[in-house]
Amino acid sequence: MNLTLKVWRQAHENDTGRIETYEAKDIPESASFLEMLDIVNTGIINDGGEPIHFDHDCREGICGMCSLTINGVPHSREQGITTCQVHMRKFRDGDTIWIEPFRARAFPIVKDLVVDRGAFDRIIASGGHIGVRTGSAPDANSVPIPKDDADDSFDSAACIGCGACVAACKNASAMLFVGAKANHLNRLPQGKPEKDKRVLAMVHQMDAEGFGNCTNQYECEAVCPKEISADVIAKLNRDYAAAVVRDAVE
């Protein structure tokens, strides 16, 4: 299949950047989206040009490294998958595809489609962990946890920190990520003692990184490759309000 690609090219963080057009010819339908870019890059390299830079690692939909906003939607319109799991059979011959980075002030562009998602790491460092050593993985059921809590925590733990929620949000808000990471620990007995401290610290760091504010439009949950529900945002709001009150009076 033959495609026209409209790709964001930006030499470095301070470059203004621009959309450039590439013709992707003879792309097999069985190729993945990233393999299609590999084919296009091979052509660019053979012509002596600078290949299109993009992030990727496992290419199995589990690491959260690949990004790309495809036709305006992070990880494409396909539900519940990352960019590396998008296949070219989902496109039609002759299609024009817009490929842009995950756009947010808190995710500065490193080069072309590569963005620095270090802000997420700093949020985790601020409180997305348990502050004491809890040892290695415990034996099953040695710490009794109600099934509902375990399921809820596990659903949140599925977050791979890819940043699609930020990229999709009209306000570049990181609430789905922070909500998932906080809920993952807050629901478990190991995480509960530091719940208030964690929520306050993570929200503070999130704001300091320059993410926007959630306006409850739920674009984030629509694009999340792990289909994390925006209910975690409601929980974060509730936990934050309770933590502020307890912090002020205790």
Binding site: G72, A172, Y218, E219, A234, L236, A241
Partner: protein
């Protein structure tokens, strides 16, 4: 600054803090809208009842009541606006470069025009206050109830106020935008207060849309019914007898 002051400042500075302020003030404003609409429905009950209601509002707690109420309302309104403008500015800064190809997956249109529908409502509120609360038009000033001169004739003021189709059109547009604002706003405040979950999601959505539609119908019915002539032309010489029929039948615009 003491510890409480620091905590309050931190709360205001935080994203969720400001959102909680928007949500709580939103509840107060929606509560006011419901009360305002229910009170307005007295126009269908007739001149005497509406005027008596207006008299009560202006005189309960020896006239202090309405000012306490107004101050609270102005405070909530101001906080709601200041916080949302601050949040919107931060949101624009957070997405400093726009997508060349922008797409929306599921965000409803009403949610994407909140700041514009809200600012239109602000403009409308200013117009509405100058229209009816402190009427600047000479035809709407100094109207006294024909049966009791100590009461203001709010009924005639309303009927006269909606004789101009352009004013009615402005009310329809502004109230429709208010309804759009509430369609997203009401369900949104439950999410901000942390009350939305798998169990409550559908109910909250229905309550939000349902309440917005009820308010839209209630508010919009009055200018529409008046401009169609169903409540007379606002001439005080021949005051209409109070309608004793239930509100539903008095909505019948074919009566004149």
């Amino acid at each position: 600054m003491n510890a409480l002051g620091t905590a309050l400042l931190q709360f205001w500075k935080s994203s969720i803090g400001k959102k909680l302020i928007v949500a709580v003030t939103g509840i107060l404003l929606v509560g006011f809208l419901v009360a305002h609409m229910v009170g307005n429905m007295l126009v269908y009950q007739g001149q005497e009842d509406l005027n008596k209601y207006a008299y009560f509002l202006h005189h309960f707690l020896h006239g202090w009541g309405i000012w306490l109420f107004r101050l609270g309302l102005i405070g909530a309104f101001a906080l709601h606006i200041v916080a949302t403008i601050a949040l919107t500015r931060q949101n624009k800064e957070a997405r400093n470069t726009r997508y060349a190809h922008e797409e929306t997956v599921q965000a409803p249109r009403s949610s994407r025009i909140m700041i514009w529908s809200g600012l239109t409502v602000l403009g409308f509120v200013i117009f509405h206050i100058l229209h009816f609360t402190i009427p600047v038009h000479p035809d709407l000033q100094g109207l006294k109830d024909p049966n009791d001169a100590k009461m203001v004739d709010v009924y005639t003021m309303v009927v006269r106020g909606f004789q101009n189709p352009l004013v009615v059109l402005f009310y329809i547009v502004a109230i429709s935008l208010l309804c759009s604002h509430l369609m997203h706003g009401i369900s949104s405040l439950f999410q901000t207060l942390g009350l939305r979950s798998e169990k409550t999601r559908l109910l909250i959505k229905r309550v939000g849309v349902g309440l917005a539609l009820v308010l839209w119908l209630g508010f919009i019915s009055i200018p529409v019914v008046v401009v169609m002539g169903a409540l007379g032309d606002g001439s005080q010489e021949k005051p209409k007898p109070a309608m004793s029929a239930p509100a539903s039948s008095s909505l019948d615009v074919t009566k004149s």
